[in-house]
Each structure stands twice: as C-alpha cells, then as structure tokens.
C-alpha cells in the first residue's frame, strides 16, 4: 500500500523537489500540483513546501493563499484532507486561516539558517504519529519570518488543546511559547517552520529526524 501525496509548486517555491524526494523516501508517491491548476488530482494528502511564493512581496504566504489551487485545497482541508505546511507553507496555512496565528519577522531581524533542536509535543496529529511525545529531534531551520505570534487567548487555547506540535529548544526567532509547529483541531492540518524534508538523508542533512513526518502520514493513510 502506498499513498499519493501532492506537493504544490507556487512560483517561487524552493523546496518542492526536496519535499517530493522525502515523500518518495518514506514510501509514498509524490504528485506535482501546480498553483494555477485548481485540481487536487485525487491525492490523499498535500504538502505546501518552503520557499518564497510570489516573492513573498506582501507578506510570507499572503499572495499564495489566493492561488487557484487554494480554492480547492482550503475546503478539502476543512473536510479532513491531511495538509502539511513547511516554512512558507506554514505561512500560507496561517494566511488561509486553516491554522491560527501568524509568522512575523524573526526577533533578531536576520534570516537564520542552522540545525535546530526541537521537542515533539504532540504525536496526536496525522503527521507526527511516528514520533513519541517528549522526543528531542534536530531539524534545519532557515527563515527570516518565523516568529510565531497569536493573541494570548489563542496561544493558551493551543496549549490547552494539545495543538502545539513542536517546540524549539533554544528559541531562535522569538516565537510565542517557543512554538515551532501547530495543528488544527482535527489534527489533519499541521504547519511548522523547521524543514523535515531536509533531515531525511545523513549526507545532506544534520539528521534523519525529519523522515517520520512523511512516514507518519503514510501509516495513517494506509491504516485508514
């Protein structure tokens, strides 16, 4: 059994091919989806990859949310389609209101690229079932606008509902509550700033700790 996982390419997407490679490494079949084509081609799950969609000229993800494919993706995600947003993809999910909060300029104002230690806070999402809560992992971060912000009520709600998925160990960007990843209520939509697709091969990444994001969704879909 395998699953068909769509990877959306917006103009300015950068990690789309690496995401497709990670999907393949985990045993699923990557399906290239195009921003201008409002058709999900029957995929079982979707990843919005990192990059600078449309140059991020207004705000990260602010223009991508209006792409034709998002007209299909947003209702499908609300209806339960598993969606993972990585970095710029996380920004798109927040701009689309599939996830709460927003990602603003890093506290230090610089782009930050480095291996980052994180703690898995929730294994109860479609994308993190193959991790153990409390587990520490190392994934690359690389972003200039990764500071997660939301009003205190929203943050408290995320914490109370167990929707904080990953937390930074050593906050690199000033994110509220050290939050690196959050999920929607149903756990099918997850957004994260770190790059699991760049931690799947020990030759090119700081670890292989990112692979479970891609095996988790396969396990979940195959079990369903």
């Amino acid at each position: 059994m395998t699953a068909r996982v769509g990877v959306v390419t917006f103009p300015g997407s950068l990690d789309d091919r690496d995401t497709a490679r990670a999907v393949r490494l985990a045993g699923s079949e990557p399906v290239a989806l195009w921003h201008g084509d409002p058709d999900l081609h029957g995929v079982d799950a979707v990843v919005l990859p990192g990059g600078f969609s449309y140059g991020d000229y207004l705000r990260g993800g602010a223009i991508a949310r209006f792409a034709p494919i998002m007209d299909e993706l947003v209702p499908a995600a609300r209806a339960g389609l598993p969606v993972l947003g990585i970095c710029n993809g996380f920004q798109v999910l927040c701009e689309s209101h599939l996830l709460p909060g927003a990602l603003t300029r890093n506290a230090g104002l610089h782009f930050v690229c480095r291996p980052q230690t994180l703690r898995v806070e929730s294994e109860d999402t479609y994308w993190t079932g193959d991790y153990a809560a409390g587990q520490e992992i190392v994934l690359p971060i690389k972003h200039g606008e990764g500071r997660y912000v939301a009003d205190p009520v929203t943050v408290a709600g995320l914490e109370a509902d167990g929707r904080v998925v990953l937390r930074y160990v050593g906050n690199p960007n000033g994110s509220a509550g050290d939050i690196a990843a959050v999920a929607n209520e149903a756990g099918n939509v997850v957004g994260l700033m770190p790059h699991p697709e760049h931690a799947t091969d020990p030759i090119t990444g700081p670890s292989t700790d990112g692979l479970p994001f891609f095996t988790s969704i396969l396990s979940r879909l195959v079990a369903a």
Partner: protein, 748 residues
C-alpha cells in the same frame, strides 16, 4: 524632445560635438569608431561602443596578459567549453558537465551594499544559466575594511543581507567562500560571487545568433533606468536634465523574477526551444545584441522601441545601456516561437520579439521606423581597443621585501603561546564566520554535502551514484602585496588544497582578479605578475583556467587595494559519502601533520594581528608538493583512512587544530618539541593536518611515503581541551569563546 539622432542625421552632421569623453572614451577610440563607421556615430551607436569598449566589458588593459591562460593551459580532456563564453564548462563524468565562474561586484557593493551584493549574485547566476545549466550552488568571497571601522558596519551587514535576501529567495544553497578584513579594503570592499551549475553534456548552450530569419526574443523583467551611468550624459542632450538628473547607478534586484526565470529557462532548454541564449548583464541590450550577432550569422535587426519598458520615458541610448536585472535574450526559430512564448506564459515571464537574425553582417536598430544604429557587431563585441599598459615593479617593493618579520618579538613561554593562539583565533580575520553564513540557506535543493566552515563546499549532483563536486575560493592580498606572482600561486594552491582536503580531486580553475588602477604602472606590474603566476601555477598543477573576471580601479585616490587574485578551484568526488570533514569526530585518532614547516611569517596572520606588520617574503610556493599532498589526500579518502582533514593556511597549525577541535566538539593533545611557535603559527604552504581512522596509522605512513609527502605524527584527538604538551592547554570553552564571540559582538 530633441530631434532623434538617426544614421541619416549623423551622416549629414559630421561635426556635431559628441560627449565621448564623458562616456569614458579616449579621443583615439572615438576616432576609431568614426573610421569603422565612415561617419560620426549616432548617439545610440556611441552608447554601444562606449560601454562595449569600457574596461569592464572589453578587458582592454588585461587582454594581453590574460592570453597566457589559454596559451599555457595544461592539456585537459575535461574542458568542454573554454574561456570566452559566459562561463567555462568541464566534464565531470557519467555524462554530466559542470560550469562555474566567479565575478566581482565590488563598486556597486560599496555604493549600496545590499543591492550591490544582491545583484552580484543575480548576475553570476544568469551567466551560469545561459550556458544551459541548472545553477546548483553559490559562494561569496568577501573582503572588507577593518572589522571595527565604522564604515565596515555599514558595508558588511548590507552586503551579507543582500546576498542572503537574493540567494535565499532564489533557492540556491550558499556553500562557502571567504570573509576577510584589511585596511586596504575600507573604501574598496571586494564582493566576488561564484556560481556553479550542472547539465548533461548535450545541453550546453552558447551565446550566438545563427540562422537568418530566427527571432530575437527579450524575456524576463522589463527595462528601467537601472545602472545607467554614462547614459545620462547622452540623455541630457535629449531630455531636460532635471527629470533624469539623479538616477541610481546601482541596479535593483528582484530574486523572485530570477527564480521564475531560471525555471522558465530550464523548461525552454529541456524542450530544445532556443538556438542561442545570452544573459543581460553589464551593458545590457548593447552587449547581448552585439555579442549574439557577432558570434552567429553576423547580422541582426532590432526594433528597439519594442523593448518593454518600466519607465516609458527612456531614450534609446538609455535602453541600450540599462543594466536592469533579470533579463535574458534568446534566439528562437520561427517554427518554435509559439511554444517558446507558451512556456514563458506558464511561468508568467514577459517575453517580446524585438528583432530577427539577418545575414547582412550589420547590427541594425530602429526606433519607431527610423534607423538609429547600423554597425558591424564584431567591431563592438570583439574588436575593442587593446592596450599594452606600461608596467614597472614599484620602487618600494624592495624595501617591503627587506622588512622581514624575523625581527618581530615572539612569545617566550607557554603562557605567551596560549595567549597568542587565542588572539589569532579571535581576530576577525580568523574567527568564526557563523554570523555571516547562518544568514544563508545552505540546505535548499537537498544536495549540500559540505559548507562553511568545512574546507570546501560540496554538492551532490547525482543521487543515484553519489557523484559530486567540491569548490573552494581563496585569496590572500597580503601575500600578493609582498609578491604578486607567488601570491596568485598561493591562492591557487590553497583553493586546490582545500578541495583536496574535502576528499575531491581538483579539476579546473576560475578567477576573479581584483586590482587597483591599470593606469598605474605599479598596479599593472602586480597584475601582470599575478596573471603570470596563475598561468604558470595552473600549468604545473594541471588545472586549466576556464574563465574569470577582472576588476580594476579598486582604489581611492593613489591608494590601491592589495593586489587580490581570488581563485576558485573545482574538484570532483565519485561518491560524496566519502567526503572528509574538518571536525575531529572520534577520540583517540592519531593526528598527523603533512608537509614541511619552515619559519615563514611574511604576510602571516600572526604578523598582521599581533604586530600590524606586513613585510618580508610570503611563504615559499612548492606546487609539486601541493600536487603530492592532493594525491595523498585523494587516495587516503578513497581508501577510507581519514576521520578528518584540515588544510593549514591562515594562522597555521594552531588555528587548524582549534577549528577542528571546535567543529568536532572534542579536544586534542599534541607534542611539538622543537620550536612550538613556528610549528603553531608558520603559514608554510602545502600542508594539512589529518586525524587517522584508528587502525589505519601504518597505511597512512605508507601512503605518505609513496606520495613523498612528509608525515609527522603529532598527537591524539580527545579530551576537553587543546593541549600542547609541556607548553600550554586551552579548554574548548575558552577556544569557543575566542572563536565565536568577535563577529556577533561587532555586528549585532
């Protein structure tokens, strides 16, 4: 608006005064244009000749020297495309070819550091793209004034943010380079950007426009008044001076457009929709049209008024000279034009047919139906003036070489050695460049195997076999100031050694030659010597120069920068899983010092940092020893004998040991019985330190003997500190503090 200066008008008004001097043309150059055309040039033609015959585009002062690279090129089957194209191309095996080049963007980066550096990245990436390759990585060799100088705090963060902004958004991993400081670069920072691209052999594209009837398509960004320096002189004759008086002379970059342009071009190449292609860099449309036409059938007709404009008030001369970024020019057969335009439309890249290839031997341009340019394109592109500038060894050179560092006081005891090590390690020149490189994306594309602070950057180009390439850039202005011939060879040797230390075999060379004014005979002597040194060095190492760039006029008033040849070396590694890192990753590995250490402190970091001294002779060059060392390292890598390897250069063995300890988060204990100071701080070339995989000690000894490389066991890895037995010990925490604190303290 004044009357349009048409060809007919030019023929009728031979005596009209023209601002050739303001455009930087010499009186005899202007006379030669008149002779070529048999009349005075139109203002549009004058625009073309002035930019194409500029130092930057024509290499008129350097050409006679650069010929050496071709004449002395070592026989090398790997060279698929040599100098003269946008970038050289080398065969790296398995049907893959790699193209790479380094280019300067020094002056714009001083005027406006962020955009100057950003567009430097953009320009070199388009050079690589126009060869038909997918760009896969970038590097930057940066040189600034003293780290604590106020202006360096303006220039350095701006340059880094520009590279970060542009390169990250473009999606190219930044895998290395250099950051260095010296007072001579205070008003002349050096920003040299390198890009490497990969293609299949059959996919090489050339900048040429063959086939009469083929369409000339301009695609990418629209044309605005960017980077028009001298054109304002021409424009002022046409427009009122007020409106165009204060135009920026630095171009503004749009990395998103460049990213889309890359994907669009690669799709065009894959579908075989282009006959020839050229990027628009310096001299913009002037350069692209003259070079494409000259290298093709020889003629081209262009409707200049069909160039899409961002500013509709631009005059034809300004369009010709604009350096607006993110533009390409392609030659497309009429039968494939609709497919070509469809790919551009898919990527939302504007594309416009602006002319056709002809067989007339003339480049003819019209402006709303009137002919404003009619010239033989080769005369602008290839037959520019060539100067044999006078050169002479400066009188002060002897005194400089006589001022030996032997007189400088040296540390007397273990405490002194320890303090000296921490001082050298904590100098901005040597200290960690994390503050810079953590602002660059190194992971994107998923093929980065090594990046700063490893000795070389390395990317995988074939995931199925593990085939990869390694790249290093090096330059040392202090060495070259003491001896430009040796300095160029030392830069070459260091880059070559860095590539070898990563486990790759060096294959080919690119260079960026940064110098002062060629009109100064002393500078011209430095240039001639450096080129001679590099050509001789490449010949001896068997690594041909595939291309490069010359940047003159890096000087303020009479004070030129140190002559600074920056050399990039490319190597190949059959399987990147075998790469060797600099960090000590295991305890108890024996450390072996390879090569011979002599008392060599001229131009050293120690003399510079501790004594502010520059004089004497740079380290001796021994290219046979470099070759032997590289051969040893490659064989040791193939046999899997190494746990770590680090080349010895700036700061010598002491710095290398400290860096390897910090990278691997473990200490080392070494015995340096005879003259620990020289062993720790000398910068003798052709040396490396390796950590041997346990059990491979004898194999390393045998292999070193076979390659005739002196090998001296000096100690073992492990422990919480770096200890020189009997002299001193430094805790890793103290090394880390010294190494990692300086740049954040200066620039945060």
């Amino acid at each position: 608006m004044q009357h349009l200066d048409t060809v007919a008008h030019a023929a009728e008004s031979p005596d009209r005064p023209q601002p050739y001097a303001e455009l930087g043309m010499a009186v005899d150059e202007y006379a030669r244009v008149r002779e070529i055309l048999g009349r005075r040039p139109t203002s549009a033609e004058l625009a073309i000749y002035s930019v194409m015959w500029s130092e930057h585009c024509s290499y008129k002062s350097s050409k006679v020297h650069l010929r050496r690279f071709g004449e002395q090129a070592p026989p090398n089957d790997a060279l698929l495309v040599g100098m003269g194209e946008n970038a050289g191309v080398v065969d790296v095996g398995s049907g893959y070819a790699v193209t790479f080049k380094i280019e300067s963007h020094n002056h714009p980066s001083y005027v406006e550091p962020h955009q100057g550096a950003a567009t430097g990245v953009g320009g070199i990436v388009r050079d690589i793209l126009s060869m038909g390759a997918r760009p896969v990585a970038v590097m930057d060799a940066l040189r600034f004034g003293p780290a604590d100088a106020p202006d360096t705090r303006r220039v350095l963060p701006g340059v880094v943010s520009g590279i970060s902004f542009y390169g990250n958004c473009l999606g190219l991993p930044n895998i290395g380079g250099e950051v260095s400081f010296d007072a001579c670069y205070l008003d002349n920072p050096l920003v040299n950007a390198l890009c490497v691209g990969v293609m299949r052999h059959g996919d090489i594209k050339l900048a040429q426009a063959p086939g009469p009837g083929n369409k000339v398509v301009l695609f990418g960004a629209s044309t605005g008044p960017d980077g028009i320096g001298g054109a304002s002189v021409l424009a002022s004759a046409t427009f009122d001076e007020e409106s165009h008086a204060k135009r920026p002379s630095v171009q503004v970059g749009d990395p998103f457009m460049e990213k889309v342009l890359i994907e669009c071009c690669l799709e065009l190449f894959a579908a075989d929709l282009v006959v020839g292609i050229q990027d628009l860099g310096a001299a913009g449309v002037s350069c692209a049209t003259t070079e494409l036409a000259a290298a093709g059938t020889g003629g081209m007709s262009v409707r200049l008024d069909s160039v899409p404009l961002r500013d509709p008030s631009l005059a034809p001369e300004e369009i010709l000279m604009s350096e607006s970024q993110e533009r390409m020019m392609a030659v497309v057969s009429p039968a494939r034009l609709s497919e070509f335009l469809a790919v551009c439309a898919k990527w939302d890249v504007p594309a416009t047919v602006i002319g056709e290839v002809t067989d007339t031997g003339r480049l003819v341009m019209t402006w709303h139906g009137e002919t404003i340019v009619d010239l033989p394109p080769g005369t602008a592109a290839d037959e520019g003036p060539v100067y044999e500038r006078p050169y002479a060894r400066p009188a002060a050179q002897d005194a400089l070489n006589a001022d030996s560092p032997a007189r400088l006081p040296r540390p007397a005891d273990g405490v002194g050695l320890r303090d000296t090590l921490l001082r050298v390690l904590g100098s901005p020149e040597v200290a960690s460049k994390d503050w810079v490189t953590s602002q660059y994306d190194r992971y994107v594309l998923g093929n980065t195997v090594l990046a700063t602070p490893d000795d070389a950057g390395m990317v995988r180009i074939d995931a199925s076999t593990g085939l990869g390439v390694a790249l290093a850039t090096d330059g040392n202005g202090r060495y070259a100031r003491l001896d430009p011939y040796a300095g160029a060879q030392l830069a070459l040797a260091e880059a070559y050694r860095n590539v070898a230390a990563s486990g790759a075999r060096p294959l080919a060379v690119t260079n960026c030659l940064n110098f002062g004014s060629p009109e100064d005979p002393g500078v011209m002597w430095q240039f001639a010597e450096a080129v001679r040194g590099l050509a001789d060095g490449c010949q001896e190492l068997g690594t041909p120069v595939t291309g490069g760039n010359v940047s003159f006029y890096n000087q303020t008033g009479d004070a030129a920068i140190h002559p600074t040849p920056v050399i990039g070396v490319l190597g190949t590694i059959p399987d990147v899983a075998r790469r060797v890192r600099t960090g000590f990753t295991a305890d108890g590995a024996s450390l072996v010092l390879l090569g011979s250490t002599r008392e060599e402190f001229g131009g050293s970091v120690w003399a510079h940092v501790v004594h502010g001294h520059l004089g004497g002779r740079p380290p001796a060059v021994d290219l046979a020893a470099e070759r032997a060392l590289a051969g040893f390292l490659a064989d040791a890598t193939d046999a899997g004998l190494l746990d770590a390897a680090h080349d010895l250069s700036d700061g010598g063995l002491g710095v290398a040991l400290a860096e390897s300890c910090l990278a691997g988060a473990r200490g080392a204990r070494v015995d340096l019985p005879d003259d620990p100071f020289t062993l720790l701080f000398s910068e003798s070339a052709a040396r490396a330190v390796v950590a041997v995989r346990p059990g491979a000690e004898q194999a390393i000894t045998d292999l070193a003997a076979r390659h005739d490389v002196p090998a001296r066991p000096i100690g073992l890895t492990g422990g919480p500190s770096l200890e020189v037995t009997g002299h001193f010990s430094v805790a890793l925490a103290d090394l880390r503090e010294a190494y990692h604190t300086p740049l954040p303290t200066l620039f945060d």
